[in-house]
């Protein structure tokens, strides 16, 4: 599903990862841990071509991350950061934004589908008419996830997604992202999140090391 082969990531002179490999199978729920600045977020961003790879290769669904495949790869993955950007005036416009692009023309969801998706994420339908800037951080995250679900995405890159959520919202988000059919590559310090993952990988000395639960050291 997502394969990192001998990848090297660098920031200026610092080597974050040095020729290391990692393979995610469909349905894997993997959390990456490690001290601040060790390259966790960069690892997530490199999957979608937003962080340059200094060496090695990344494959998603058998497609190598390259100029030719980048649009298809981005089309299959949802990236949910700590502060998602909705990129439109109102919440309704934000949800429908992707369907204004050629890649998703004609696939616009109907009202019923939108309401059901919002409900699954514990969001009231009245939020649709609210300005994107006026909703809380937790609501923004759930709207971003709702948008990804409406696009039918099932590979999620989640960077500290639950850090600003109340317990109710967190449960709703986790219920969606931890469905059996989704593949999840994440960064989190949240014990509940880490518990829910079936794989834990730690960045140590510029290497990715798979650890058992309760074996990691976060910064």
């Amino acid at each position: 599903m997502i394969n990192f082969e001998n990848i090297t990531l660098r920031v200026q002179q610092q080597t974050l990862l040095d020729g290391t490999s990692l393979h995610l199978a469909p349905g894997d729920k993997l959390v990456v841990r490690g001290p601040s600045g060790c390259g966790k977020s960069s690892l997530l961003k490199c999957v979608i071509g937003m962080f340059p790879i200094a060496g090695g290769s990344v494959h998603v669904d058998g497609m190598e991350l390259s100029a030719n495949h980048i649009p298809q790869i981005r089309g299959r993955i949802a990236y949910i950061g700590q502060e998602p950007v909705l990129g439109a005036e109102s919440v309704r416009e934000a949800l429908l934004l992707p369907f204004t692009f050629k890649a998703h023309h004609g696939n616009q969801p109907d009202e019923k589908e939108i309401f059901q998706t919002l409900e699954r994420l514990h969001l009231p339908s009245s939020i649709l008419s609210k300005p994107s800037k006026r909703i809380s951080g937790g609501e923004k995250q759930r709207v971003a996830i709702a948008r990804a679900l409406l696009l039918g995405k099932n590979i999620f890159l989640a960077d500290e997604t639950t850090s600003a959520l109340d317990p109710g919202s967190k449960a709703a988000v986790m219920a969606e992202l931890f469905r059996p059919e989704t593949t999840l590559l994440s960064v989190s310090h949240d014990p509940d999140w880490i518990d829910a993952c079936n794989r834990i990988v730690e960045i140590r000395h510029a290497d990715l090391q798979e650890t058992g639960k309760g074996d990691g050291h976060d910064g």
Partner: protein, 260 residues
């Protein structure tokens, strides 16, 4: 014909500069030196242009006039890139194509379709019209390029979000392109809307001082305003679109090394 300004008369005009200079010194604005340098440069440059133009008009040779136009285009292009804060080495040819293409098309339209002088390449029309169109669309080009790239740079997360939602590069840049073009054209639209009431435009004033009838001068003024506006919009859009292939890498990331 205009009353010729004698050298003593011109010196009296320079004397008027003592007013702003005195204010700057009194308020210690720290711009007096810059003002003097600016004044000196303006004077020398205009004297040189006066001399060049005298010979260019006397020669009235299309090759010489075109060479002068080419010099103006190159200098204008360098000024656009430098003020927009992006690297000349990366964008020079693309920006030159946008600025030259738009300016020459619009000026050519004005001269060949509307004025039709005898001969068509008359330097008295070609050089000042190209110069005026070019000079006035510079600001629009600087604004649009600067706003476009700084907009994407400051909203990197938003831009990335568009790409992640399936937008092509052209689709993802559209909000920034819109904002950049608006910033470029808004001042010109405001100027046009108040022209004749709030301000008497330079070209028209010059022609009237030169002895032209006001109605004749107005027709030229309207035409030149249309030329300037059209060239500015076309050049601003072309400049941004032509710059895209070198400003983004093959993963649609904005290259940091394009900024100067």
């Amino acid at each position: 014909m205009t009353v010729d300004l004698s050298i003593p008369s011109l010196l009296w005009m320079y004397a008027l500069m003592l007013v702003p200079l005195g204010i700057f010194l009194y308020l210690r604005l720290g711009v007096a030196r810059a003002l003097l340098i600016g004044m000196a440069r303006m004077s020398v440059q205009l004297v040189l242009v006066g001399l060049y133009l005298k010979y260019i008009f006397q020669l009235n040779n299309p090759a010489v006039s075109l060479l002068w136009v080419a010099v103006m285009l190159v200098v204008a292009n360098l000024a656009v890139l430098s003020k927009a804060g992006i690297r000349r080495g990366v964008f020079f040819w693309r920006s030159l194509a946008a600025v030259a293409g738009s300016t020459l098309f619009v000026s050519g339209w004005f001269i060949l379709v509307a004025i039709r002088p005898e001969p068509l390449y008359d330097a008295r029309y070609m050089v000042p019209i190209v110069g005026m169109v070019l000079g006035n669309c510079l600001r629009g080009n600087v604004l649009s390029l600067e706003r476009f790239y700084s907009g994407i740079r400051q909203n990197e997360n938003e831009f990335t979000t568009y790409l992640m939602l399936g937008a092509t590069l052209r689709e993802a840049i559209r909000p920034y392109l819109r904002r950049a073009l608006k910033a470029a054209v808004n001042p010109s639209i405001a100027t046009m809307a108040t022209m004749g009431i709030v301000s008497l435009p330079g070209m028209m004033t010059g022609q009237i001082l030169g002895g032209a009838l006001p109605m004749e001068a107005i027709k030229y003024q309207i035409s030149i305003m249309i030329c300037i506006f059209t060239a500015m919009v076309a050049a601003s859009l072309a400049n941004i679109l032509l710059s895209l292939p070198v400003a983004f890498d093959d993963h649609q990331r904005l290259r940091e090394d394009i900024f100067s």
